[in-house]
């Protein structure tokens, strides 16, 4: 196993790691102290030099994103933290919010300093209510200690952090949909351009960042861009949280650099496959990316290497399926998710995903016809790239990639006319001992 000193999750297993006292005792708020004395340009430069890329899924350079905010715009500016972690298989921000919230607050202040904002909203998914209460209590403590609120540490920088609770909408994870939801509307995406950096929340310049991205900022400011840039492969630098779930022995969040391979992640960190079965398929970046076969196990788990392998790092949520998994059933399960979560704004996505589900359901009932496979691909072809947000591309990934790699399973369903076997429904959970 590659040796790696965790940065973001170093203390998460220690008692009280979420408290202000613990954070301050372990060198917390030092980066913020340094940053509030820096100019916004210097902070953005440092981030650009570090090579930090957004951890939410798209991998867009964070320094560049912050640099897009117009300085001469007289309107207030906003920093939004995307804690609407809903990508199936992803639970990395969960750990950070639960066990290391002050690192996030510190990053928020630095972000506000860099883009000229005074207010930061943390948009937390509705299911994380227990964390909202804890976050608000910790914000109050940090504010009382002078780390948040007006005139932080006498620097003249103001930063108020509020937690905004969503109410169960996957689509709110898309940045413009998140803004709509925060404005009190349905979480539906906007047409881009204009980009949120120019016209965002309440029509003001806005930056939306993932929790993990912002948590990476304080270490960069504290230890320098060169330290950060030296971690992991070129253009994929820095510590990264990986979530491994599915048929593995030790599902969980693991921190590593992006030079590790999927094999190391699954076999060394997550302990290998339960009952020592073989791997059938891997979804390396949350349900929205293409399924890959175990022959790609030695691929680096980095943004660029996984794109070269025909898939994506996405939110770094690795779902592992063993040899007993029924791939038609798995595709149908994910399409049920997308059918439920489609926001309904763009016709190809809203109608298309409904058709995908109907056809998959027909096949898995044993009523499919051979032409249904091509019909599925045809429908996918009419969704991909034809919607406002990446949801359309996401929802076709499970169908297109399972047909590409497991067409024979679809054909077997159709030829034999059998339904998904009831005994497929999987056995006892992995972690329950």
């Amino acid at each position: 196993m590659a040796q790696f000193e965790p940065v973001l999750t170093r203390y998460v297993k220690e008692p009280g790691s979420y408290t202000l006292d613990f954070h301050v005792q372990h060198g917390g708020y030092e980066a913020m102290r340094k940053a509030v004395a820096m100019t916004p340009d210097a902070i953005i430069d440092e981030l650009k030099k570090s090579g930090l890329r957004g951890r939410g899924g798209a991998g867009f350079p964070t320094g560049m994103k912050w640099g897009f905010v117009p300085k001469d715009n007289p309107k207030p500016k906003y920093l939004l933290i995307n804690a609407d972690e809903s990508e199936p298989g992803t639970f990395k921000d969960h750990v950070l919010l639960e066990r290391n919230p002050h690192l996030l607050f510190e990053g928020c202040v630095i972000g506000c300093r860099a883009i000229g904002a005074k207010v930061c909203y943390i948009y937390i998914r509705g299911e994380f209510y227990h964390m909202q209460r804890q976050l608000e209590a910790e914000i109050a403590k940090a504010r009382a200690a002078g780390y948040l609120g007006p005139n932080i540490l006498g620097s003249g920088q103001d930063c108020e952090i509020y937690v905004h609770r969503g109410a169960g909408a996957y689509e709110a994870g898309e940045e413009t949909a998140l803004i709509e939801s925060l404005e009190g509307k349905r979480a539906q995406p906007r047409i881009k351009p204009p980009f949120p950096a120019v016209v965002g929340l309440y029509g003001c310049p806005t930056v939306v960042n993932n929790v993990e991205t912002v948590c990476n900022v304080p270490p960069i400011i504290e230890r320098g861009a060169a330290w950060f840039a030296a971690i992991g492969p070129e253009k994929n630098q820095g510590p990264k949280l990986f979530c491994v779930s599915g048929h593995v022995k030790r599902p969980g969040t693991y921190e590593a650099h992006m030079g590790i391979t999927l094999r190391e992640l699954i076999y060394d960190y997550a302990g290998g496959i339960r009952n020592d079965r073989k791997i059938k398929a891997i979804i390396p970046g949350g349900s929205s990316v293409n399924v890959i076969l175990p022959d790609k196990l030695d691929t680096q788990a980095s943004f660029d290497a996984l794109v070269a392998a025909g898939t994506m790092l996405g939110s770094a949520a690795c779902i592992v399926m063993d040899e007993t998994t029924d791939m038609v059933w798995a595709a149908k399960n994910l399409i049920h998710f997308y059918k439920h979560e489609s926001c309904g704004k763009c016709t190809p996505c809203r109608e298309g995903v409904d058709w995908l589900y109907k056809i998959l359901d027909k096949i898995s009932r044993g009523d499919g016809e051979m032409r249904d496979i091509d019909l599925l691909l045809n429908v996918c072809n009419n969704i991909g790239g034809k919607t406002l947000c990446p949801f359309g591309d996401a929802e076709i990934a499970p169908v297109v990639s399972t047909i590409q790699h497991f067409r024979h399973e679809y054909e077997a369903y159709i030829k034999q006319g059998i339904a998904t076997p009831a005994d497929y429904r999987s056995a006892s959970p992995a972690g329950a001992h």
């Binding site: 199936p88 639960e98 299911e127 227990h130 905004h164 404005e183 349905r186 969980g252 994910l334 429904r425």
Partner: protein, 205 residues
């Protein structure tokens, strides 16, 4: 006489899918809840009170147990928007109940990571045990069963959320009868809690 050609879709083609919440009893915030709402509304610029709409609905749901048409009208009045704006939001987000629910709403995650670990059987067992289908409340009014999409705790699969905020992890299908009995007898303290932090404790196990 319509200018459309005859459609082969049969009855109901033009039926609206609009699903209105129940009318419910008259509703107004208690004084304390009204104060709580105003505290949250102060997080947003004064002209953007609509941002607090989700919080307003959560508070109402906490007070009455579900969101009725009376709630929608009251929330619209408190925020200063139209009831249609509020209905738009209520019918989009899944965490608002639009009809009365049981004391414990069991929200079973059904998405891939949980499904690979037996979530379908968890739902089956619960439904079999309570004689309900997903979405329904049992005869005693104690349990409502819902299927939820990914809850964001895939390492603890299969996961069940209770009443939008409490968690039960690693729910084995074979333990369902005991789990329901425990919940009925001991209430929320029967739950395992979420992730690293068990219910009633503040530290990881």
């Amino acid at each position: 006489m319509s200018f459309h050609p005859r459609m082969p879709y049969g009855e109901g083609w033009h039926k609206s899918d609009r699903q209105l919440p129940e009318e419910g009893p008259p509703f107004a915030y208690s004084d304390e809840n009204r104060r709580r709402f105003e505290d949250i509304a102060a997080h947003y610029p004064p002209e953007q009170r609509k941002s607090a709409i989700l919080a307003a609905l959560y508070i109402a749901q906490e007070q009455q147990g579900y969101v009725s048409r009376h709630v929608i009208r009251h929330v619209a009045q408190v925020i200063g928007c139209t009831p249609a704006d509020v209905e738009d939001v209520v019918t989009y987000y899944v965490m608002f109940f639009t009809k009365p629910v049981g004391t414990y709403v069991l929200q079973v995650c059904r998405t891939l990571s949980c499904a690979l670990n037996g979530a379908e059987r968890v739902t089956d067992e619960i439904c079999k045990h309570l004689h309900v289908r997903p979405g329904e409340t049992d005869a005693t009014g104690t349990f409502t069963v819902q299927e939820f999409e990914c809850l964001g705790a895939c390492d603890r699969a299969p996961v069940v959320m209770i009443n939008n905020e409490h968690w039960q992890e690693h729910q084995r299908p074979e333990d369902i009868p005991r789990f329901l009995e425990d919940l009925r007898r001991r209430g929320l303290s029967a739950l395992s809690g979420c992730h690293l932090v068990p219910a009633g404790e503040r530290e990881p196990r």
